[in-house]
Symmetry: C2
Subunit: 224 residues, 2 copies
C-alpha cells in the first residue's frame, strides 16, 4: 500500500456527536435498552439481542428474534476452544478477534478450491456446497475423518447436513427468496427431526452478516 509522505492530520471536527469508540458502544447499548422491549428475549440472551439490534440499527428487530433458551451454551463451547463456522466471509470479518475467549478459529469454507466444482456438480449454491465442508469440524457427527476430534460450531446460516451434528447456531440469512423459509425450518427443526439445536434467528426477510456477527460477538464474551 502506498501512503503519502505527508503526515496524516486529525480530521477537523464539524459535528458534535460522540467520537470515542467505546463510548459509542455504551451509549448505543443504553439507547437500545431504553427503546427496545427486551422482555420477550430469554434473560440469558439479553446481551445477544442488544448487540443484534445494534448491528441492524433497528430496535423493532426484537419483534422478529427467536432465541433458543439454551443459546448461551455456545459461550462455554467457545471457552473450550470450539471454532466459529461461518457461511459468509463478511461474517468472519465482523467477528471481533479480541473478544474470542480462546483465540478461537473463525472459519469459512466459501473460498476453498473445491467449492465451485461441488456447487456446479450438485446444482446448488456455492454457500450450500461450502457448508458441506464443515463436517469434520462438527461435534457428534457419525462419519470418520482424518481431522482432530470434532468440535462444536457456533454459526451456520444455510441448509446443510445438520441432522448428524449437535451445534449452536446463529442463523440469520437476509433475503427475499428462501431466507424466511429456511429460518422457519430452523424453528421447526426440533419438532420435525427430534434434534434440539440451540439457535438464534430473525423471522422474515431481515438478517445478514452484520447482525449475525453481532450475535457471535455477544456470545464470545459476557462483557460488553
Amino acid at each position: 500500500m502506498t501512503i503519502s509522505s505527508d503526515q496524516p492530520r486529525r480530521p477537523e471536527r464539524h459535528y458534535h456527536y460522540v467520537d470515542r469508540g467505546p463510548a459509542i458502544y455504551l451509549d448505543s447499548f443504553a439507547t437500545i435498552r431504553r427503546e427496545a422491549d427486551l422482555s420477550r428475549v430469554p434473560s440469558s440472551a439479553e446481551k445477544v439481542a442488544v448487540r443484534m439490534i445494534h448491528g441492524s440499527g433497528q430496535v423493532d428487530l426484537v419483534d422478529d428474534l427467536v432465541v433458543h433458551p439454551e443459546l448461551v451454551a455456545a459461550r462455554a463451547a467457545l471457552q473450550a476452544g470450539a471454532p466459529m463456522l461461518c457461511d459468509a466471509t463478511m461474517v468472519v470479518k465482523g467477528v471481533t478477534r479480541t473478544r474470542l475467549p480462546a483465540d478461537n478459529e473463525v472459519l469459512c469454507m466459501l473460498n476453498e478450491p473445491e467449492v465451485p466444482g461441488l456447487a456446479a456438480a450438485w446444482g446448488t449454491t456455492r454457500t450450500a456446497a461450502a457448508v458441506s465442508l464443515w463436517e469434520p469440524h462438527l461435534e457428534g457427527r457419525s462419519s470418520p475423518s482424518a481431522t482432530p476430534p470434532p468440535r462444536s460450531s457456533t454459526c451456520w446460516r444455510c441448509s446443510s447436513t445438520a441432522h448428524r451434528a449437535r451445534r449452536r447456531s446463529s442463523r440469520c440469512p437476509v433475503g427475499f427468496i428462501g431466507a424466511a423459509e429456511s429460518k422457519q425450518a430452523l424453528e421447526e427443526f426440533h419438532a420435525v427431526h427430534g434434534i434440539d439445536i440451540p439457535f438464534v434467528t430473525v423471522r422474515g426477510r431481515r438478517g445478514g452478516s452484520a447482525m449475525t456477527s453481532s450475535a457471535l460477538n455477544a456470545l464470545a464474551q459476557e462483557q460488553e
Copy 2:
C-alpha cells in the same frame, strides 16, 4: 485448513425454495421491483436502490434512501480504474470482485499499523483515523504526495477530510449514536460547504456494510 478424507456429500434437499445462486438473485430483484416504490429514486440509480434493498431484506428501505442525481457517475470512475475506498473490512468483503470493471483496488486502511496510534493521539475512532489515510487516493486534494496521480473514490462512510476532495460516496453507517447525524450532514454538505459530492445514503439508523457493499456492487456494473 484440515479437510476430512471423506468425500463431501451433496446436502440432502429438505425444502423446496430455489437453490441456484443466479436464480435467487433474479427472483429476489423481481420481488423487490413488485413490492418497492422505486419511483422516488432517480431512474439512473434504480438498480442501486434494488440491490441495497436486497442487501437489507427490507423494501421500505426505499423510503429512507437519498440518492444524488449524479451518483452513477461513479461507474465511469470505476471503469477508468478508480479504487474503492472503504471504511470497514466487512464492506471490502462484500464487494464482488468479478463485477469490478477494471480489476479495481478495494482498499480499507483500518488495519494499517499506524491507525491505533493516530486514533489514540487524536481522541477519535479507529475508523475516523483510518479514513484520514485515504488522502493520497483522493482526486482533487490539495496536498502533494509521493503517490500516483490522485483518483476518485467511491465509498466513504465516516467523518473525514472531505473538504479538499471531489469524490463519489456511498455512505450508510448503521447505528444509534452519530450515524443518523453524520448522514444528515452528508445531505447538507453541498448547501453548507459549497462542494457537490455525488452520494447515496440511508436516512436514520439503518445502514451498514451489507447495504453499502450492495450499492458498490450495483455501481460496479450495470448488468444485474
